[in-house]
Symmetry: D2
Subunit: 100 residues, 4 copies
């Protein structure tokens, strides 16, 4: 089962700068060979269910290992059985409507 | 790793009544022996990471098997290493502050 | 326009105990006379759009006034034009399916 | 109060193609002169609180006016008092960590 997800991870108890932890998470997604695109409030991820959720688990483990005592994450994710869809398809589909 | 989650699953392409699909999901959480509490915009779930995410995967599979072509889910989840915390602890902690 | 919402507010930069800030937010919802029910990962809120979003803005303002430098919130909200629905309706509708 | 938000709007009861409704929402954000960047699972928005939430309300109204009976939205939003931050700052801050 393919999944398209959007991961927004918030480390708590380490002050207000969270970018080192988000960067660590990007390295984990890259190491997992998952297609991913960062934006200003999360990261789009595309892949097989188990690969995606395995990487997200490693993100939580790695960020705790950096000394973060608490993490609160918001994850959106979608699956569909009618057809394959990629990250690019989703954006392109809206952009085509905007052109007309 | 223990996780406290809140699952909000939205079936698409099946009209506007989604309660049969949410009910199916409740049955899966119960069968997994996961502590869970439904509210008006999701379901709190408490358990070991792999058990929780395994059950959520089965929810998506079961709802697709009911004929739903597309599912969009929003999941909040938190982990912490400083101490154990339960669903009840989280609510009680705020209620104590409200009393004073 | 009526709205049913679920508010999950995460204060950053104040350590890992967030219950005093959540409690302040509960007081604001109560003062706004909004129907609201707290659960372990957020608070259900029911009311008119402007009343609900006005109260949420005051929550952010009040928590910053308590000395919190950064807040990251996840809010789910739903509107519908086909019929009126309450917090209780949503839960009851699933519970009926579970009984059969 | 400035806010950085991420809007993910899901129309229900209109089948599985939601791109016409998302496109309508993009037009509303543009008309409001709000800085916004679409990605595969939502749209980043940056602006003053009342402008941002006013535009989101018009999105719900416009999509209902297109015949959609039910909308379920997930919105992340952040405010901070320690310093100004833009959409670009947030991404750049992580990218700098990835380079080192």
């Amino acid at each position: 089962m393919k999944v398209i997800a959007d991961l927004c991870l918030v480390p708590l108890g380490v002050g207000i700068s969270v970018s080192p932890h988000i960067a660590e998470c990007q390295r984990i997604l890259r190491a997992a060979n998952l297609k991913h695109v960062m934006h200003a409030y999360g990261t789009n991820i595309e892949g097989e269910w188990d690969t995606v959720f395995g990487a997200i688990k490693r993100c939580h483990e790695a960020i705790h290992a950096m000394g973060v005592p608490r993490i609160s994450t918001d994850l959106r994710f979608g699956t569909r059985t009618d057809r394959e869809q990629t990250l690019d398809d989703k954006v392109r589909s809206v952009e085509e409507k905007l052109r007309t």
